[in-house]
């Protein structure tokens, strides 16, 4: 039983978003950004640092309403939205488990989260406070919170940034394992091409500021077959298609 409209894609068409600089001058952050993510696909927004990716996510999350354009989230009326920010943004005064459960609607607060904690390796840390967690663990907790709500759409804003590469890679595998268990429409922001190639079905390529869509790169190879060799090939064909991203 799928809720009505569960098959609607994520549709984004942001004409313009400008900020006021400290001197009061308008600075364009986004100009002509449009893309679509079909239901159940994992998409990455790839672009240089500071090009307006985070701004886009903030607009889609409803945290920034001053822009021109439109967007449509999957199942706009009833589906919940989940997000993992660049910072884990856990409440320091609540335990890890309380942080995860607080994101749930009241009637589902005491649902069974055993399996989720287990798969993220958080079972032993459930009663710890965020100040007792390493950054990697805090990021995992933020992922647990995002998946716990069974979202209609999942936003991930550079969730693996400033982790050492080994930890980041382990977290990417964890993310893929959980996501594959229940494919959710997901939009992840990254400036790391290999990360995007490893995780996504499609890569939305953005220009430098002001951000606009340069095009979409489809990764049709199944994730299980993205070996290091295949990733190198994908990287080469990506650069052939988007030479300006080198």
């Amino acid at each position: 039983m799928r809720p009505v409209g569960a098959d609607t894609p994520l549709k984004v068409d942001i004409a313009e978003k400008t900020f006021r600089s400290a001197q009061g001058l308008p600075v364009a952050a986004i100009r002509g950004l449009s893309f679509e993510v079909p239901q159940g696909e994992f998409a990455c927004m790839l672009g240089p640092s500071g090009c307006g990716k985070t701004t886009t996510v903030r607009i889609l999350l409803g945290l920034d309403r001053e822009f021109t354009g439109t967007f449509q989230l999957p199942t706009p009326s009833e589906g919940r939205v989940a997000a993992a920010f660049q910072e884990p943004t856990l409440l320091p005064w609540r335990t890890l488990e309380q942080n995860v459960r607080l994101a749930l609607p009241h009637e589902r607060r005491d649902r069974d989260l055993e399996g989720l904690f287990e798969s993220l390796g958080l079972t032993a840390m459930r009663s710890l406070y965020p100040s007792e967690l390493s950054l990697g663990l805090a990021r995992r907790a933020a992922l647990a919170r995002a998946f716990a709500v069974d979202p209609a759409i999942l936003f991930l804003d550079e969730p693996f940034v400033s982790l050492d590469e080994r930890t980041a890679q382990r977290l990417r595998h964890l993310l893929l394992a959980i996501w594959s268990g229940k494919p959710t429409t997901a939009l992840m922001v990254t400036h790391n091409l290999r990360e995007a190639l490893m995780l996504s079905d499609r890569i939305i390529v953005l220009s430098s500021r002001p951000a606009r869509t340069l095009g979409t790169f489809f990764v049709r190879l199944p994730r299980s077959r993205r070996s290091p060799q295949a990733m190198n090939d994908l990287e080469r064909s990506f650069h052939a298609e988007f030479p300006e991203m080198a």
Partner: protein, 273 residues
């Protein structure tokens, strides 16, 4: 004498020796020794310079027992304590509401800031006198006068707290659709707690001192009234008896109420990574 015997008997075994060391090193024991030293000094001074206006601790103790036996001590202490509690609750509630509102609305803050500065600089005595003149010598006027004295301080502290709120937590709450009550309980209050604790702590100290003045000027009972009464009789022992009794009550409030509540509210801070 009794406790010394116990310590000496147990001095031979290792755990008992360790216990003794721990008692000797504890801050409570130090405080006790320190206060006992003060009493001895006081007694010596009162013996060297005997005067009716400088009674020794034994005379104060005697006065305390007389007041306690008649029931006057308990009655007056409880009356004053009730006024302290009422004024504290009133000041914290109104002050917090105004402070949070000003801290989160910059325009309102700019308009009302001169008012806050004005009120913070009005002497307590003026507020009390005006309250009695305008509203009569009654309980409500007394409690409100004390609360009005404290409210500007609470406003300033809570406004600081509201300005320091981290917007990221509120954004997270918006994304995950926290209810209004959840936002208050899990996002706002925990962030404001240190400011609330600071306002609370300085509030209790200030309020109970002002309550005594209010009682002195216009109430027929309470510790302040008793001090006024015994001042007219030049009975310094009774004045000191009431003062020390009330200080003891306020210390008790601090140790059994304020500190445990604070420890509970900040339990998450005591775990460094």
């Amino acid at each position: 004498m009794n406790s010394r015997q116990v310590v000496e008997q147990g001095g031979g075994t290792v755990p008992a020796r360790r216990l003794r060391q721990r008692i000797l090193a504890s801050p409570a024991f130090m405080a006790l020794i320190s206060l006992a030293g003060l009493c001895v000094l006081w007694q010596v001074a009162a013996t060297v310079w005997p005067s009716r206006t400088f009674p020794p601790p034994t005379a104060v103790w005697q006065a305390l027992r007389v007041e306690a036996a008649s029931g006057a001590l308990a009655f007056n202490l409880s009356v004053t304590l009730m006024r302290v509690v009422a004024a504290y609750l009133l000041a914290m509630t109104i002050g917090s509401a105004i402070g949070i509102a000003l801290g989160t609305h910059r325009r309102a803050d700019r308009f009302f800031d001169p008012w806050v500065v004005l009120f913070i600089n009005i002497p307590a005595l003026v507020v009390i006198v005006l309250a009695y003149v305008w509203f009569g010598l009654n309980e409500a006027a007394a409690v409100c006068a004390v609360a009005v004295n404290k409210i500007p301080n609470v406003v300033v502290t809570m406004r600081e707290g509201a300005r320091a709120l981290d917007p990221r937590y509120m954004e997270m709450a918006r994304v995950y659709r926290f209810s209004a009550l959840d936002r208050l309980h899990h996002i706002l209050l925990p962030q404001l707690q240190p400011y609330f604790a600071a306002a609370s702590r300085s509030g209790i100290a200030l309020i109970w001192k002002i309550v005594l003045v209010v009682e002195l000027l216009g109430r027929p009972n309470g510790v302040g009234f008793q001090i006024h009464l015994h001042f007219q009789l030049f009975d310094v022992a009774a004045i000191l008896a009431y003062t020390l009794a009330f200080v003891a009550v306020m210390l008790l409030v601090e140790f059994v109420l304020v500190q445990p509540v604070e420890r509970h509210a900040t339990r998450w801070r005591r775990h460094p990574a």
